[in-house]
């Protein structure tokens, strides 16, 4: 975990939004976001003190943390000398932020983090391969079909059709439009792998919703088991909806960017 990630955890734990912390420190939220995402270097000692003050933490804590992060990198390079060569190659080629983001995407795909606490996170359940942005759908049934295909795949001997039917049947009994432009068509299907698809709609669906807002975003969820795990995932989705995820994803065209937004909203309380 780099310094920025830890800083982000501390900020969230302090109950501060990115914007609120930036305002208190007197920097732009864009700068703070770059630091948190590891795109900008660790701030100077003076600025670290200001950040610590704003979060009501001892200033030396952040300074020590920054030093520990650097030492963790040194330890890693000592243990895995090949890493040093790769870092030098990245520096020699002068990869910019966007290119490093692509490198991170490859890492996430090929070497996902094994964090047991992350298994219910939407960002982990969705992954970039199950994101469809700006889809044209005329009805919720189309969304369910598309989402199921993303979760299960099309060449599956009819399983996708069967699962889509389960979700449609459940939806007919109790539509899962939860407000703020979000629908969560879902089903518990024994034997299926738990997965979710995130779909934004090119044209919002004008169907009855609790707050009258048309559906802009659907998260199609298939759970292998019911019980508390399924409810917890639904709770996480409802939390994202209350953080206006549909509005945040409006106009987003890159799956990586969409997942970054999901991750950011998931870190909010």
């Amino acid at each position: 975990m780099h310094f920025g990630s830890t800083l982000k955890l501390l900020r969230v734990d302090s109950g501060l939004s990115l914007r609120a912390l930036a305002r208190r420190v007197g920097v732009s939220s864009a700068y703070l976001s770059r630091v948190e995402n590891g795109h900008d270097p660790v701030p100077t000692a003076g600025r670290l003190s200001a950040i610590a003050d704003a979060m009501d933490l001892p200033p030396e804590m952040l300074v020590q943390l920054a030093q520990q992060t650097a030492s963790a990198l040194v330890d890693y390079v000592d243990r895995v000398p090949a890493a040093s060569a790769l870092f030098l190659e990245i520096a020699r080629r002068g990869l910019d932020t966007a290119q490093l983001e692509r490198l991170r995407e490859v890492m996430d795909d090929e070497f996902p983090e094994h964090d047991p606490d992350a298994r219910h996170l939407m960002s982990a359940l969705v992954g970039r391969k199950r994101v469809a942005l700006g889809l044209e759908c005329d009805a919720i049934e189309d969304v369910i079909e598309a989402g199921t295909a993303l979760c299960v795949g099309r060449d599956d001997g009819g399983a996708a059709a069967e699962i889509a039917r389960s979700i449609r049947d459940r939806e007919a009994k109790a539509p899962t439009v939860i407000g703020n432009g979000v629908a969560v068509p879902h089903a518990v299907v024994e034997g299926a792998s738990t997965a979710a698809a995130l779909i934004t709609l090119a044209t919002p669906l004008d169907v009855p919703t609790p707050d009258g807002a048309p559906i802009e975003l659907a998260i199609v969820l298939i759970s292998s088991a019911g019980g508390s795990e399924h409810l917890e995932v639904l709770a996480r989705i409802a939390r994202l909806a209350s953080h206006h995820i549909a509005r945040e994803l409006r106009g987003v065209t890159s799956p990586a960017r969409a997942l970054a937004i999901v991750k950011r909203l998931e870190s909010l309380r």
Binding site: K173, A174, I178, G227, L231, E232
Partner: protein, 171 residues
């Protein structure tokens, strides 16, 4: 006289109730109503929105009974009930609504054990709904005690007054 021994016995047969309502006075009134009218005081947990209701059901359960407003921020009580049933959770739900439509009534009819209490309501109406649901639920040590306790509810419940905020709605 209330003794330590009595207290221990009561603790053994406490029934867990999850109460979801955006209004703190209403949450207190619901808990008081259930407490005053039962011989074994239920252990009440409280949430003020639908998202926390889902989280509590997922992480803090199982509960013997859920009493929830339909109109909750984040996700409404009816949706939570439907999601709980999809997840295989059969906890009895008492939903409270002042604007129940046919769709909600139909949902409740299909998702037993569940009951709708039309708002405004008085204490006996709530107690009666809880009594019916718990009597229909599978017996468990907690629920057996609850059944004993609810025998005293109906007569005593009328003594609990609603909070001022809700009382205004009664007029």
């Amino acid at each position: 006289m209330w003794s330590r021994e009595d207290s221990a016995k009561t603790a053994e047969r406490r029934v867990s109730v999850l109460i979801a309502d955006p209004s703190p006075p209403m949450r207190s009134w619901l808990a008081t109503t259930l407490s005053l009218s039962a011989s074994g005081r239920p252990a009440c947990s409280f949430v003020d929105d639908g998202v926390d209701l889902l989280y509590h059901l997922a992480e803090k359960g199982p509960f013997d009974l859920v009493v929830a407003q339909v109109a909750l921020a984040g996700i409404d009580g009816g949706q939570v009930l439907a999601m709980a049933r999809t997840a295989g959770l059969n906890t009895p739900f008492v939903l409270v609504s002042a604007v129940a439509d046919d769709r909600l009534r139909s949902l409740i009819a299909r998702t037993e054990p569940a009951a709708l209490v039309d708002d405004p309501f008085d204490a006996p109406a709530l107690v009666s709904a809880a009594k019916r649901l718990l009597a229909a639920a599978q017996p468990s040590p907690g629920r057996v005690a609850w059944r004993r306790a609810i025998a005293k509810w109906t007569t005593r419940a009328a003594g609990a007054a609603p909070p001022a905020a809700r009382a205004r709605a009664f007029r």
